[in-house]
């Protein structure tokens, strides 16, 4: 117990230590993000992450958003376990054909209005994998996308910036089910 306390005390709160060049921007982005989250979504944005065919690189960086440096939850953003709890889907990867139906069903299970964010170069335009017998390429080839966050993989700050763009005024959540409703 004492060793744990010692280590914790010695480490301190890294979230607020802001000497690195990135961190000022992190704070600025975070505060702006929180403002939008409050205004538009009533204090919290619930995100369901869906890997639709990624190489796992994007997942590592999305994970990093939860580490003590970025600590996403303090801005009112959190990852939820079910699409039924989600305001937004954060989709990574080119959509593999084997995940196509699962992605459509996840999309259909997410209540309207919903935001669809394509994270990573593959999700934005198919990336290195493109369209093939096994891949549908970009996420927008399968479900409607509101915001794209390019990067291979996007770094945590780029993800934050993208999330901000997703809920900034002007980026209307997709309410129109279009022809994507069912699989």
């Amino acid at each position: 117990m004492f060793r744990i306390l010692k280590q914790s005390l010695k480490t301190g709160v890294v979230t607020e230590a802001a000497p690195a060049t990135d961190d000022a921007e992190l704070e600025r982005l975070g505060i702006e993000l929180r403002r939008h989250v409050h205004a538009r979504l009533g204090r919290s944005l619930a995100i369901r992450q869906v890997d639709a065919g990624s190489c796992n690189g994007c997942e590592l960086e999305i994970h990093a958003l939860n580490n003590p440096y970025y600590d996403l939850e303090r801005f009112g953003l959190h990852f939820v376990a079910s699409p039924r709890h989600a305001d937004a889907l954060l989709v990574t990867g080119p959509v593999s054909r084997h995940m196509e139906t699962a992605l459509r069903r996840t999309w259909a299970a997410t209540p309207i209005p919903k935001l669809i964010i394509a994270a990573g170069t593959c999700a934005c335009d198919g990336g290195e994998f493109g369209v093939s017998y096994a891949s549908r390429g970009a996420v927008e080839n399968v479900i409607p996308v509101d915001v794209k966050i390019p990067g291979c993989p996007p770094a945590p700050l780029e993800l934050l910036r993208g999330l901000l763009a997703a809920i900034a005024p002007g980026a209307a959540p997709s309410a129109d089910p279009g022809d994507h409703q069912n699989d």
Binding site: Q7, T11, G57, L60, A64, P83, R97, H98, Y133
Partner: protein, 554 residues
């Protein structure tokens, strides 16, 4: 004992069984030796190999044009072999390869089957770890493995027809149908019946931020009676879209086989291409590659140790490890240009040099990580609530691990200390002493200990790499590949041995790319080690193994 002392014994036993094995030009797939077999002897040879304890490192087939031994090399072979395998004279053949290893010595078995009737005895009855590799091979190339105990599809879901094989020349890369692909709803899972037995289907979309796959549990009360995995959800056609790429293009693709092992996979692919073209990366590039590979190992182990602790509710260690990993990744971006060091390795060398003041920074980093990690690892190693959850949980015996061919931390925690860096060293590890941790308990706690030790050993290795970093060029142009040139890459990634096969076509492009991630052998290990554990311990067991979905689905 040298790395190949077992070979005469193996050959003698093959001869005793009247199996005709012909040695072929050994420079082609160096460091592996090659043996060409008749197709009908394929299964029996595996039986002999299993009998003397060789490890199977995977099977793959090459069904594209010109597969088999190319004409330019065939002259080196005895006439009979050339006639059997010369793909250029008889394009209607599928070449099949199997890689074996023992005591650090590698041997590749080769054969060829006619495209019209591609039937080959299965090696799975003698090597259970090959089960899914052979099914994958069938789904993509159409080779029928006779006597395979489980003929169900594996990588194929519903995106292509049962009688279509994507890796054949006549299969268009774009596929044959553009329609929506339905869910693979009628996959015949094995079922368990009995009073009180219930089934838990999980996935492909999981509750966390993880890759997709399906797990089918049969449980009674809290106890797992059986687990069956169903992967293939992130199959992106990597082997097919590799065809025709230039070496740079292949390196970029290899970097995305499995994002958490991007350095190791790129290295293995570049090593294979460099061996195929007889082109060695300059020493400084080798050192930088190793430095990055060790950084990748440390980053992933840190993340996983934290996640394992988190899965049993010990968030202190999770946060501490996440913090250390983040600092580590930021330094990677600063010095190597990318947080995961993606695309930092390229054919012929590395993409960017390390700046002059980087050495001091890195050495300070290593000291800082050591100072932070040692007290943290002390806590993790003997914290009562962690011990309670991790010791005896998810036990994999040495026999099970050996049977499946597990390498990496899963094998090391179950008594198999194989490590390519030490046992079949490639530059720069041939100049370094690599200490490989070995544990015998085979439980989650042992896998955590292996990872903690590997972090500390990697720090020592990295310090040594920095101190001995050669000067000079970081990249040489890759020589043009002779038509049909083949190469084998063998690299130890943080998950274990990565084996990559590359064959060039006649225009210097890629004809065949097969990266074999160690996860092929650790996913089945998860099915075995979870048995008898409680369902709520599945996440921690899974994380302690941490197989790659993308690396296996390809």
């Amino acid at each position: 004992m040298s790395r190949r002392d077992w070979l005469p014994d193996f050959l003698a036993r093959l001869a005793a069984e009247h199996l005709l094995a012909r040695a072929a030009d050994e420079a082609l797939l160096a460091p592996a030796l090659r043996l060409v077999l008749d197709p009908e002897d394929w299964g029996a040879a595996a039986k002999v190999a299993a009998h003397i304890g060789l490890r199977h490192a995977g099977v793959w087939a090459d069904a594209s044009e010109g597969a088999g031994v190319p004409a330019s090399f065939a002259a080196n072979l005895v006439a009979g072999v050339a006639a059997d395998l010369d793909g250029e004279h008889d394009p209607q053949r599928i070449a099949v390869y199997a890689c074996l290893e023992h005591l650090g010595g590698y041997l590749v078995l080769e054969t060829a089957v006619p495209l019209e009737r591609p039937v080959l005895p299965s090696q799975t009855p003698h090597y259970p770890g090959l089960d899914r590799l052979e099914r994958h091979c069938h789904d993509l190339t159409g080779v029928v493995f006779q006597g395979h105990p489980d003929p169900r599809r594996w990588t194929r879901h519903q995106a292509w027809e049962e009688d279509a094989f994507p890796l054949r020349t006549d299969f268009p890369t774009a596929g044959r149908s553009g329609g929506r692909v339905p869910a693979d709803a009628d996959y015949p899972f094995l079922t368990v019946q009995g009073s009180g037995v219930y089934e838990i289907p999980v996935g492909p979309v999981h509750a966390g931020i993880i890759e997709p796959g399906h797990f089918r549990f049969q449980a009674m009360g809290e106890e797992v009676l059986r687990l069956e995995e169903r992967l293939g959800y992130v199959h992106k056609g990597i082997e097919k879209i590799a065809e025709g790429r230039d070496p740079e293009g292949l390196a970029r693709l290899a970097a995305r086989v499995c994002g958490d092992s991007t350095v190791a996979h790129t290295w293995a692919a570049c090593q294979a291409m460099e061996r195929a073209t007889a082109c060695a990366a300059p020493p400084r590039a080798d050192w930088l590659r190793a430095l990055m590979a060790e950084r990748e190992r440390v980053a992933n182990h840190l993340g996983d140790i934290g996640a394992i602790c988190n899965d049993v509710g010990f968030s202190f260690a999770h946060m501490q490890c996440a913090r250390l990993r983040e600092l580590w990744q930021r330094r990677s971006r600063e010095l190597f240009g990318h947080r995961l060091m993606m695309d930092a390795i390229c054919p012929g060398g590395v993409a960017a040099d390390l700046s002059a003041d980087a050495s001091a920074l890195l050495q300070a980093d290593h000291m800082a990580l050591r100072a932070a990690a040692i007290p943290l690892f002390d806590v993790i190693d003997d914290h009562p609530s962690l011990n309670d959850r991790l010791i005896t949980t998810g036990h994999l015996s040495t026999a099970q691990a050996r049977n499946l061919g597990c390498t990496g931390s899963v094998g090391k925690a179950s008594g198999l200390a194989f490590d390519v860096r030490r046992d079949c060293p490639y530059p720069p590890y041939d100049m370094l002493e690599v200490v490989v941790p070995q544990e015998s308990d085979g439980d989650v706690a042992a896998r955590v200990r292996v990872r903690m030790t590997e972090i500390q050993e990697s720090l020592i290795l990295m310090d040594r790499l920095i101190r001995t970093l050669p000067t000079g060029k970081i990249r040489v142009p890759l020589r043009p590949a002779p038509p049909g040139a083949v190469g084998l890459g063998l690299v130890d990634g943080w998950r274990g041995e990565i084996m990559t096969f590359v064959r060039f076509d006649t225009d210097g492009g890629i004809a065949r790319f097969f990266p074999r991630d160690p996860s092929w052998f650790t996913w089945p290990a998860l099915e075995q080690l979870i048995m008898g554990n409680i369902v709520p311990d599945f996440p921690v067991c899974n994380k302690s193994v941490n197989g790659s979905y993308s690396g296996e689905d390809l």
